[in-house]
Amino acid sequence: MNPRTNTIAPCINANASRDNPTFGQALLLACAMVLCAPALAAPKAAPLPPDSVYQLPLTLTDQHGVARPWQARRGKPQLVAMFYTSCQYICPLIVDAGKAVEKNLTPAQRQHLGIVLISMDPVRDTPTALKKVADQRKLDPEHWTLASPPASEVRAVAGVLGIRYRALADGEFNHTSALVLLDGEGRIVARTEQMGTVPDPVFLAAVRKATAPARALSGK
């Protein structure tokens, strides 16, 4: 876990598409040499706000087996929760809670929201295991992403999201449950620990506000 790797992706994106490959390669090399210090971030991408959870460099591997930095979600509000697929007790309720929020949005609002369930059990939550839950629970892949971080990063992701957990001897987890609403920049704007099919009204209002089409289109 280290913020310095944060800007590697923008460095590469900015340089790979230049029509002068030598220039691009030189810049890329320079980037690599100085470990992509934040000062070298692509000029177009504004720096992340200091309170953005995307400051944590993190690769998520989703239910389709696609690995992407979670920073790629920047630009659209996200509903985030942590879970694991073999969970018997509360995790089904976490999915219910996400669905309940989704059901209470207009189609336009739904278009402006991503829903991400991040596994705290990446060893067992392979893309296949994640896909199985996504299919069983009929989660629309247009809006829902079920994904695993690298095992070494679970504590850090949980840390920025304010989730506490402990692995139990039998493979289950003891954990706190929350839905976290991120704005387009990855800042936590709302949070609820109310799970189940009845959405927390205050939280739902925050999601509606964040996904109001005019607001979402203006990029704020």
């Binding site: 876990m1 280290n2 913020p3 310095r4 320079a30 040499m33 100085v34 470990l35 210090a37 934040p38 000062a39 070298l40 992340l48 200091p50 309170d51 953005s52 959870v53 400051q55 944590l56 969970c87 018997q88 007790y89 509360i90 995790c91 309720l93 504590r155 850090a156 949980a158 840390g159 920025v160 304010g162 989730i163 506490r164 957990y165 402990r166 692995a167 139990l168 001897a169 039998d170 289950e172 987890f173 003891n174 954990h175 706190t176 449950s177 620990e193 109310q194 799970m195 189940g196």
Partner: protein, 259 residues
């Protein structure tokens, strides 16, 4: 940009020097079944602590200064607030200067979990788990497990009763315990890797059974050794912290797995 690169190249070897010289760590044997002060439903027979290595002393201001010089994104004026609250390293005179209130050999405090974690990663190490810390801290100078000794308990509790406003002593002044580890008690509180696994409190903000909804799976832990106040206070404190928090008395040391 070239200047920045040069600066970083200069700074990197410093981190190497400040880091894990061989003598900084000692080997601890672990235990097949360590009796934690914490009683979990799933570990009533004790927890296994694999052999591991632990820093002899907590990380000092001087060591942490070398780290932020090598990795300036952890300077207090540059660290993202998601990783460290505003009081992070606030005892230092400047972002890269210790000053009179932070002596080089004092343990570094006002560090967040994210910063402590990054420091250990930079040394090719990690933070110790709670079980590892507790195992190491159960010893005294002559015994691996001195916890049942009332004198041992008294000695540790005496520290907690001292006001915390006084200046911190230097690291490494106390006698090493039987493993060769110093300052586990009586100097600073210490982060553990799994601070957020200590699910002591259950609150009733949730619908229905608070235990079931807040903690998926088995219930929260209970204390198996109610006499061991000193260790219980550590647990209570760690369980109340978030990863970006920092306090005047909270430092850390690193650990390494033995491969």
């Amino acid at each position: 940009m070239r200047r920045l690169a040069a600066l970083l190249l200069l700074a990197l070897p410093v981190a190497g020097l400040a880091g894990a010289a061989a003598g900084d760590y000692v080997k601890l044997p672990g235990a097949a079944s360590f009796k934690s002060v914490l009683q979990y439903e799933d570990s009533s027979n004790g927890v296994r602590v694999a052999p591991f290595e632990l820093m002899r002393k907590p990380v000092t201001n001087a060591q942490f200064l070398a780290f932020v010089a090598a990795q300036p994104q952890w300077r207090r004026d540059r660290v993202p607030s998601v990783f460290a609250e505003t009081r992070y390293l606030s005892q230092w005179q400047g972002a890269t200067a210790l000053g009179p209130k932070a002596l080089p050999q004092q343990p570094v405090t006002w560090v967040s979990w994210f910063a402590a974690n990054a420091y250990c990663e930079a040394q090719g190490a990690r933070l110790p788990t709670w079980s590892e810390w507790e195992f190491a801290a159960a010893a005294d100078e002559t015994r691996r497990d001195a916890r049942k000794d009332p004198a041992w308990r008294e000695r540790i509790l005496a520290w907690y009763s001292r006001p915390s406003s006084a200046a911190l002593p230097r690291a490494g002044l106390q006698a090493p315990n039987i493993h060769g580890v110093q300052d586990l008690h009586g100097l600073v509180w210490e982060w553990t890797d799994d601070y957020s696994a200590l699910l002591v409190s259950s609150d009733n903000r949730n619908q229905g059974d608070a235990d079931k909804t807040q903690f998926c799976g088995a219930g929260a832990l209970s204390m198996s050794d109610r006499e061991n106040y000193a260790v219980m206070m550590r647990v209570a404190m760690l369980s109340s912290l978030n990863g970006a928090d920092a306090t005047a008395n909270l430092g850390f040391r690193c650990a390494r797995s033995i491969k």
